[in-house]
């Protein structure tokens, strides 16, 4: 997928700045990628086709998605500003309150996102992926955890 196509879906991206960091693949999604997994597609689908942490309720709710990262050691926090010694994850929701996307902060302060079945990107701002469908809505939750070995 070309940059031009990505920018059709996410109209704020070119303005806020981003770069493509992987080839496109459907093998994993943003939820897995934010959790550090690039091998599985994480989703609480009702058909039980995809991976979902077994201890988490299998529902498309913000609470279930938040719990998925809490079991990995993340805790709710109130801002997305870079903090030395911490890594942050944000969850986006659409206008119906349904989770649409997760992004993880890098030590540079930029964010890494897997765009559906497309590429991974690094983006400068969270607003780059915000907006109405097909963009990911708004950031609803910010979580952080201490970086290991820091």
């Amino acid at each position: 997928m070309s940059k031009e196509s990505i920018e059709v879906y996410f109209r704020n991206l070119s303005r806020s700045g981003y770069s493509i960091t992987s080839p496109a693949t459907p093998e994993y999604n943003c939820i897995a990628w934010a959790a550090g997994n690039a091998e599985l597609w994480w989703e609480p689908d009702p058909q039980f086709l995809y991976y979902w942490p077994p201890q988490i309720e299998r529902r498309y709710t913000l609470e279930a998605y938040k719990r998925t990262y809490e079991v990995l050691g993340y805790k709710i926090c109130d801002n997305s500003v870079l903090e030395i010694g911490f890594e942050k994850i944000v969850l986006y929701i659409n206008e119906y309150g349904r989770p649409t996307h997760a992004a993880r902060q890098l030590i540079s302060g930029r964010w890494t996102s897997k765009l559906g079945s497309l590429e991974d990107i690094e983006h400068n701002t969270l607003e780059g992926l915000s907006g109405s469908h097909p963009a990911y809505g708004i950031v609803a939750v910010i979580l952080k955890r201490p970086i290991k070995n820091s």
Binding site: A32, L49, T100, L115, S117, L118
Partner: protein
């Protein structure tokens, strides 16, 4: 006719036409040729008749579906796309087409396969691992005589 290695003098500037190799065909003529082919195909085989061909129908729907959903991170949403639902609606005739597609390239065909076949050969420990899921469905397809 060949323009290979020819030199273009435009506005007094010498520009080598490196992008033209052994043909005079340019971008515009390729577009015109494509439109011409499409018009001829449309004239010879009306769209309504093409739509009755399951292969043409499948690939037309597949392209629509992929363009509209490739940025989505939820298969539940991806699978609700009207084109994907129409592929499911094609029933068992779509299974060999889906499996051949799966053999060629990874993709989210599992919702459709499970919906049409009414079974799921993927082991629980392989859920979400698209390579393993593809392997399981291709093995199933072979056993069922679809592949």
């Amino acid at each position: 006719m060949t323009y290979a290695g020819s030199v273009l003098f435009a506005s007094g500037t010498k520009t080598r036409m490196q992008d033209i190799k052994d043909t005079a065909e340019g971008k515009e003529s390729r577009i015109i040729q494509k439109k011409y082919d499409s018009s001829v195909a449309h004239y010879l085989t009306p769209y309504s008749r093409q739509w009755n061909n399951p292969v043409i129908r499948f690939f037309t729907l597949k392209v629509q579906w992929q363009v509209d959903t490739s940025m989505l991170s939820s298969v539940a949403e991806i699978a609700m796309h009207p084109a994907y639902q129409q592929i499911i609606g094609m029933g068992p005739i779509a299974i060999p087409l889906i499996l051949s597609e799966l053999k060629r390239k990874s993709g989210h065909w599992y919702w459709a396969l499970k919906s049409i076949a009414g079974e799921d050969p993927v082991m629980p420990e392989h859920r979400g691992n698209l390579k393993k899921m593809a392997e399981a469905w291709l093995k199933w397809g072979k056993e069922q005589g679809y592949v």
